[in-house]
Point group: C2
Chain length 160, copies 2
């Protein structure tokens, strides 16, 4: 019940990206590594995975860099977590094709895991990157979510 360090770093990275340029201008990995204090190779690896998942747009070359592919309000924690460490699956039973469970037949709790898994995933999906990027108080989770959405709502579209 603890997400990997890379996922944690990815959230920090995305938050910094959203806060720095709002997802409009491009930002290079070196600069971001200096600002966040994370090791540069880690940032590079994370950028790779995030771009593969379609969360960030990358540009190669001298003036390369990356920026958010979608507005911050349209990116949830679940997206980031899934981009870094694969689909959210509390148990191997939820991974669909994985049939490693030896007690698959007598296991009567397996049908329930799907619902629990969806419940947890929805909890993470209800938190947007915009909420994380804001400098709100220590407990702005559920009630402020719907209030922050219109405030940071891209509306007419920031860049997309």
């Amino acid at each position: 019940m603890r997400l990997s360090s890379l996922a944690d770093y990815a959230v920090v990275m995305m938050s910094a990206t959203a806060r720095h340029c709002g997802g409009v201008a491009r930002l290079n990995a070196t600069r971001l590594a200096e600002d966040t204090g994370l090791p540069l190779p880690t940032v590079q690896k994370l950028v790779s995975r995030l771009s593969a998942a379609g969360l960030v747009e990358t540009g190669r070359g001298a003036a390369g860099g990356f920026r958010l592919a979608r507005p911050a309000a349209a990116i949830s924690l679940a997206d980031i977590v899934e981009a870094v460490e694969g689909p959210i699956a509390l148990t191997t039973c939820v991974d669909a094709d994985r049939h490693d469970c030896a007690v698959e037949g007598s296991c009567r709790v397996r049908p329930h895991w799907g619902g629990v898994n969806a419940l947890v995933r929805d909890a993470l999906a209800s938190v947007s990157l915009a909420t994380i990027s804001s400098s709100a108080g220590p407990e702005p989770v559920e009630p402020t979510l719907s209030q922050l959405d219109p405030a940071l709502r891209p509306g007419a579209g920031v860049h997309a």
Copy 2:
């Protein structure tokens, strides 16, 4: 974002315990290991941790064994998970005393993790052992909770 195998096995164990004797009669670890198909040493270790957490009552000696310390409806998934793998903490920042984060000062997402962590924890706390133990459909998560309560409600107290 994947809970440990031991936690998974613990849920299976607790579910089997609740289904077999309803938390009334005592059940030995050997019998439970045979029924669930889990390795006996694993069951023993899990019983140790669950008893340390106060979820099961253990009895030593020849006629020993264990049973649920509380009715199944009063035990949640969060309780089981926390009993096996410690407090639910998505990141090390939530672990309170852990100050290993090198970017503690500039990290502006840390205050938000507490709320997110509570959100996930509540999601697991909303699912009771009674729900997991039932043979209902694939998605009986929240609504059935209040309906199973009266059914399995100990009422006058089973043993306590």
